[in-house]
């Protein structure tokens, strides 16, 4: 660890830093993370029914203990949930110039290159590079297979594979959340509420599953440290950019 830091410090002198995230987007990221964590913890705490509770009654008891009862917990969950959604809505509207290209980037996928990246990166992360060459040895160029990990843009497709469901999931979570919250304000029919509960739960579950990978990749996985740091500084070293986001690096270089 200390090695790594010293080296980077040294690198910083030589390596040029590239602008990757604006201050606002950094804030939004961590705001999102905090909300997610909070809402996840309180949300699971709202489930009392043993058949439905995924973690166990102890969690419900603990959360209700912290917040002084289920009703307060629900209120806080709803307030933070609404806050989360409202802040994002404002952000999307106010910073459309920033958000639209971001969404465009996220939702742009090159199937050929990206599938290969996913396969190879997955193998590399779990089984190692050797496995890639072993696979290449078996396939021998069939299906257009190459053992290399293809170059990626501003986001790699792994990030996109998390970003897409988490954005869509976020929308679903907000919509179902609003339905549930609105249930005792204006809704007459309870069927949508009941479905919203299930969908809310399922969506959170799926996104949370993706979140595990995201957290690992961002904060623990080897070689991703600069990306993690960039979520505070907004900058990545050029060599990191070149290595991890070659297409973006080239784009920026050309644009310069």
């Amino acid at each position: 660890m200390s090695d790594e830091q010293s080296i980077q410090k040294d690198d910083a002198v030589e390596t040029e830093q590239m602008e990757r995230h604006t201050k606002l987007s950094i804030f939004m990221h961590w705001f999102n993370a905090a909300c997610w964590l909070f809402l996840l913890a309180t949300g699971i705490g709202l489930i009392r029914n043993a058949d439905l509770q995924p973690v166990g009654g102890w969690w419900t008891d603990m959360m209700r203990g912290i917040f002084g009862g289920g009703a307060n917990l629900l209120l806080v969950h709803e307030i933070v949930g609404v806050l989360w959604a409202v802040v994002f809505l404002v952000y999307v509207i106010a910073k459309a110039k920033e958000v639209v290209p971001f969404l465009k980037e996220i939702f742009t996928i090159d199937p050929k290159r990206d599938v290969l990246w996913l396969v190879n990166k997955g193998i590399q992360m779990t089984l190692g590079y050797k496995a890639l060459y072993k696979l290449d040895g078996i396939l021998k160029g069939r299906f257009g297979y190459k053992p290399e990990i293809p170059d990626q843009g501003f986001y790699n497709v792994g990030q996109k594979m998390f970003a897409i469901p988490s954005i869509l999931g976020g929308v679903v979570i907000v919509v179902t959340g609003v339905i549930m919250t609105a249930s005792n304000v204006m809704l007459e029919n309870t069927a949508p509420v009941q479905w919203a509960i299930l969908i809310h739960f399922l969506t959170v579950g799926f996104v949370f599953a993706g979140l595990l990978i995201h957290v690992y990749m961002a904060s623990i996985a080897a070689g991703e440290r600069p990306a993690f740091i960039s979520m505070f500084t907004g900058k990545v070293p050029e060599d990191y950019a070149m290595h991890h986001h070659k297409l973006w690096y080239d784009e920026v270089r050309e644009g310069r």
């Binding site: 307060n72 806080v76 307030i79 933070v80 806050l83 802040v87 919250t181 005792n184 304000v185």
Partner: protein
């Protein structure tokens, strides 16, 4: 407005939820703790001390006067609970009692004086000040007095605790013409029992071992304590036999139900007397000592055998014989229940006389489980200046002489209305009504409308726009019973309830409503009669309690005061208030007057084959026709239906819920049919109080059918009681005929 206080929950959580979210969104970090703090504080307040005020009162939803405790929260009556120490009502409050709040906060309430703008009944009103309203009313009454004598004004007090002041006003004003609700209700019963025992009894239902109930529906037409005692006694083994053309809830809960042919009860009771006498099931010593006319009765009932009665009543002779024996075996703790509403046939009094005679044979007068004499509660009648005498006045009531034995204080609505329409013996051109709705409670609505048409002036004092108020020239808003200080009530009669009860306001009078005493005082002042009404309610109540030194304290603590008094054996060693000074099986006065001294059976008019007999009846939710529009009670029954036997309906091609048209010689109404196996095939029934003309009564205006519009106005010959079961109607599927 206060009416919004009922059924209008405020969701604290929703409010906090959204405002909380807004706060949090606006100022992250500071919003949440504040919200949490607010929640804790609110919770603490809710769990805190009970700050509600409790007010003792007596219910005014019907005339039973049950004891209640009003719970007043922040100046709003939140709940009415029964007063557990109130023995007359046995510590209960029925659906109507609970719905008193819905009357208090009724959106249909009259709010200020209204003066008619358009034609009578058109529903166009102008809001006027009390000053204008009272000036106008006084001027109209003065004009009528001058033009037609003081008897030109008819007064109709309802059955309210302040109605006594309307009676007083009538006598002070100088009119003998007072017609109350009673002639549409129970005067034939009163007549019959007065003319048998010299007094109208209370039934000791609680201690009775065997009760025959005919023409009464005590589990639906609730009377306290009888209805409750009936159930308590039944639990203790009492036997109940019900005669009714309709399978009422009373019939449903009785040991026996006999769907008697309507109008033939008299045959049944004469046959009971026949069996009791011929089988010598009576106490001979008692008969010799207390009864007068046993010989005449013995001779009289000979033809009335159970077998003969079976043909009339359609009740098997063996049952009649058995019931007579069972009654006699349980005597004197057995009775023919006297009933209340007896406005059914042209011989209503004689029917009740026969019932009273059987009671006399059972020897149950003044005995446990029998008929009880009234006890004095000890209330003082405040001494008020005697009413003046007007020499230039009529000498008699306008309905005088139309029935053999009318009651001076009650009159006869049927006969008074006829007299007014005919203008005979003299014109009556003004009408003052107080909480009375004969438009709905008196048979033949068309006639009531005709009578009103001929009036010069009509004023109605009421809580809501009843059909009667709807026809008036001037409508004055009265407060409900929960807003009033009323005279002390003396409740006497059946076991354990010779008591004094108080009604004090739970909340001040709403809107511009004023109690009728205030209205009468103001009118008296304007008619130079102020000296006769120179008192206020506080004084009046104090005077009433003058001779009961402990009462005031008891009323303050318990809401009720009991004056211990003898319950049974009041008549020991005393004479009866009759001509013979005994219980009269054979009525001496009737004989003198050329009436049947012992009831003679006359069969009811036969029902034409294509028609049905229309009968009336109560349920536990509605008081006559006054609480049908009550927002709470209306939810139990939002319209009336025509009860018809499935076989009869089938014959007419009528299905359950089909709209039908019911036609009588005097009216035509439509409503939905309800197929009921629990009604005779020759009889139909509908609840009263629907089909209101008044647009001021949401919920009953144009909803269901008005039974008063269908009933013909026959009268009981003796008492002048309206006879409401003498009407035959035809029924057809709507659109079919």
């Amino acid at each position: 407005m206060s009416s919004s206080n009922i059924n209008r929950p405020i969701s604290r959580r929703n409010f906090l939820k959204w405002s909380g979210a807004a706060t949090a969104a606006a100022a992250v970090g500071t919003g949440q703790p504040k919200v949490l703090h607010a929640l804790t504080a609110a919770e603490g307040a809710a769990k805190g001390k009970d700050t509600a005020e409790k007010v003792f009162s007596i219910c005014g939803m019907c005339l039973n006067k049950c004891g209640l405790i009003a719970r007043v929260e922040d100046g709003v009556v939140a709940k009415l609970d029964p007063n557990p120490k109130f023995l007359k009502s046995r510590g209960m409050l029925c659906a109507r009692g609970n719905a008193g709040i819905a009357q208090l906060y009724d959106p249909d309430r009259l709010k200020y004086p209204l003066l008619r703008k358009g034609k009578r009944g058109e529903g166009k009103w102008r809001r006027v000040s009390w000053e204008q309203a009272l000036d106008y009313a006084a001027e109209q009454m003065k004009t009528i007095a001058e033009k037609y004598t003081r008897c030109g004004m008819l007064f109709s007090p309802g059955s309210d605790t302040q109605s006594q002041f309307v009676h007083r006003f009538a006598s002070v004003f100088g009119s003998w013409n007072v017609v109350t609700h009673e002639s549409n209700c129970l005067i034939s019963r009163n007549r019959a029992y007065l003319d048998t025992f010299g007094e109208v009894p209370f039934a000791d239902v609680l201690h009775s071992k065997y009760i025959v109930m005919a023409g009464a529906n005590r589990f639906e037409a609730l009377i306290t304590p009888d209805s409750i005692d009936l159930m308590t006694a039944r639990k203790n083994g009492q036997k109940l036999v019900v005669l009714d053309p309709r399978y009422t809830k009373t019939a449903a809960l009785a040991d026996e139900w006999h769907p008697v042919r309507p109008g033939t009860d008299l045959a049944f009771f004469l046959a009971l007397a026949h069996v009791i006498i011929n089988e010598k099931l009576y106490d001979a010593d008692y008969v010799a000592e207390k009864l007068s006319g046993m010989e005449e009765l013995t001779a009289h009932v000979q033809p009335y055998t159970p077998e003969w009665a079976e043909k009339e009543t359609e009740i098997p002779a063996r049952h009649i014989r058995r019931i007579a024996r069972e009654l006699a075996a349980a005597a004197p703790a057995s009775m023919i229940y006297p009933g209340r509403r007896t406005s059914d046939y042209v011989n209503s009094t004689q029917i009740r006389r026969a019932m009273a005679i059987v009671n006399a044979l059972l020897g149950n007068w003044d005995q446990p489980g029998g008929l009880l004499a009234a006890r004095q509660v000890g209330l003082n009648s405040p001494s008020l200046p005697d009413a003046p005498w007007y020499d230039d006045n009529m000498m008699e009531r306008a309905d005088h002489g139309r029935a053999h034995m009318m009651f001076e204080e009650e009159g006869s609505f049927k006969h008074m209305r006829d007299a007014i329409i005919e203008g005979e013996p003299y014109p009556v051109k003004g009408w003052f009504t107080y909480k009375l709705n004969p438009m709905q409670s008196g048979a033949n609505r068309a006639k009531t409308l005709k009578m009103i048409e001929g009036l010069d002036f009509m004023v109605s004092v009421d809580i809501a726009m009843s059909d009667t108020a709807w026809m008036a020239d001037l409508v004055l808003p009265a407060p409900s019973y929960l807003e009033r200080l009323d005279p002390i009530s003396g409740l006497q009669g059946s076991a354990a309830c010779a008591c004094v009860a108080t009604r004090v306001p739970a909340v001040p009078a709403l809107f511009e409503s004023r109690p009728v005493l205030w209205i009468l005082k103001e009118l008296a002042n304007r008619l130079d009669l102020g000296e006769y009404f120179d008192f206020d309610m506080e004084w009046y109540r104090k005077e009433q309690l003058k001779d009961l030194p402990d009462a005031e304290k008891a009323l303050a603590e318990d809401g009720v005061y009991y004056n211990p008094s003898k319950l049974y054996g009041i008549y020991e060693g005393k004479i009866y208030r009759t001509k013979s000074k005994k219980i009269e099986l054979h009525n001496v006065r009737y004989k003198e007057m050329g009436l049947d001294p012992i009831p003679v059976y006359t069969p009811p008019k036969p029902i034409p084959s294509d028609k049905f007999r229309l009968v009336l009846g109560r349920n536990a939710m509605f008081t006559h026709c006054t609480t049908n529009h009550n927002r709470l009670l209306n939810q139990f029954m939002s319209e009336n239906t025509l009860w018809i036997h499935p076989d009869s309906a089938d014959r007419l091609g009528i299905g359950d819920g089909d709209p039908v048209v019911v036609k009588s010689p005097v009216g035509r109404e439509s409503l939905k049919a309800e197929l009921k196996p629990g009604i005779r095939k020759d009889t139909v029934y509908m609840a009263s109080g629907w089909g209101a003309l008044s647009k001021g009564l949401s919920g009953v205006h144009n909803t269901g059918a008005c039974v008063a519009a269908l009933m013909e106005d026959y009268a009981d010959a003796l008492s002048g009681n309206m006879a409401m079961h003498e009407t035959f109607v035809s029924v057809a599927r709507k659109g079919a005929a």
